[in-house]
Symmetry: C2
């Protein structure tokens, strides 16, 4: 089930700038009981991204459309793409150019239960994230780095890959954000030069004080990870997975991961 | 007039990975008298790009399709997009996945004659190109940096913008490559960390020895430009424009630009 600009469709205009230049943004969101989980946060990030890319967006129209769309499903995934719409050849655009809205439904993937209760191993990707402060944090449609990184491993031992930026700082997963715990403080990479600032990451940053935990966003090197007590990854679809290993560094699935899983589950119920 | 996978069409599948992730490549080529100018070079670059991105490509099929497409037009522009095709949600792909071919015709833009005979002024863009050796040189579909850079100026005084990489090296134009002349040597930025290695650039590098000129590809800073005798920009559609200014640095339209314009015109006739 797909809506393009509010109409059922399975195709879009070949001249769409999303195809031509990756000129747009997306959100991948979870539907439960007919509502989009963390919808306000997803919408906020999207509005912020549209402002940074100077893409016009009718927020009210999108909001009612997405909420109606979600209501037709008990649970699953809705992927929302906003592009700058169709354009003539060439990079130039008009600021008043109407954007295009695409809503796509898919079933929730089935992840192994052990990912949640035992934890996952992360593959250390060779593909580095380029430093681009103008695009950092945004979930835009220029995702070739993630495509290349995801192609580096086929071994199902690894549920996710860890990506470093060009300077060697731990940045994020291919489709997740990362957190580490040391002496009761939560650390997560600063995403001002690369990476996607995920909505689940934002929720965890908000929740941490309720668990009596401080959160620090800062640069984290791969070497520093061996000094961490606990690690976990997160995204808006699966929630939280404890991390068991990154390369030669091993952890046990830790108490903070499980407490945050519970907190998130409470929010979602 | 548009062909998608060989069939007349104006739409593509919403699930195309070109839209989802900018997972593909393109070529913008000039048609004259029913043939694509520098077709062999465009095809070589595309094949090389597909290898680097692990996109499967039926080169023979593409070749006959593009040549047939060009034959139906006296002159104009053909934009060829190759994407990794339609895929399920998620970055992972299969190496055998059939790619998608899109051929789009448009009329040749009309540029002011003065661009060719007098020269053009370049706007110095604030948007810097991130350093990403894995994608450098490729004409891939992740072009948000160019979209942002092109949005920096509206003043028609500037025909093109000059882009620096993150380290401040002169890299390319928003839709052109750049050359500089000093003491009879041609200099053009090395494109191993950022930028698009254009087909007209490759032709000029090949032609230069016929004019008794050496070519050096190397890092060039903005400060170095004031020591250059002459400058020009190029692409596959307009050919060569002498450059009159970059910021505070001024040149006269120079003899090398005009001799290369003639050489290119001879090739194309």
């Amino acid at each position: 089930m797909i809506l393009v600009d509010g109409q059922p469709a399975s195709m879009i205009d070949v001249a769409d700038r999303g195809l031509a230049y990756g000129d747009g943004l997306f959100e991948t969101m979870r539907i439960e009981r007919g509502t989009i989980l963390r919808w306000r946060k997803h919408l906020e990030r999207l509005v912020h991204g549209c402002q940074r890319l100077q893409i016009s967006l009718d927020t009210q129209l999108l909001q009612s459309e997405a909420e109606d769309f979600a209501m037709r499903h008990v649970s699953g995934v809705v992927k929302l793409i906003i592009t700058r719409g169709s354009g003539a050849r060439g990079y130039a655009f008009s600021r008043q150019h109407p954007s295009r809205r695409i809503l796509q439904y898919s079933q929730l993937p089935v992840w192994p239960q052990r990912n949640f209760v035992q934890g996952v191993h992360l593959f250390v990707c060779q593909t580095r994230l380029a430093l681009q402060p103008l695009l950092a944090g945004l979930k835009h449609l220029n995702r070739l780095e993630q495509v290349l990184a995801r192609a580096e491993w086929q071994d199902e031992h690894y549920a996710e890959g860890l990506m470093l930026d060009a300077d060697g700082n731990v940045t994020d997963g291919v489709f997740s954000n990362l957190f580490f715990v040391r002496d009761g403080v939560l650390y997560t990479p600063l995403l001002d030069r690369a990476g996607v600032a995920g909505v689940m990451r934002a929720s965890i940053i908000e929740l941490a004080p309720q668990l009596g935990m401080q959160v620090q966003q800062r640069r984290i090197t791969l070497d520093e990870l061996s000094g961490m007590d606990e690690a976990f990854c997160c995204n808006s679809l699966y929630g939280i997975w404890p991390v068991l290993s990154v390369g030669q560094i091993n952890w046990s699935a830790g108490p903070i991961s499980f407490r945050l899983q519970q907190k998130i589950a409470q929010q979602d119920s």
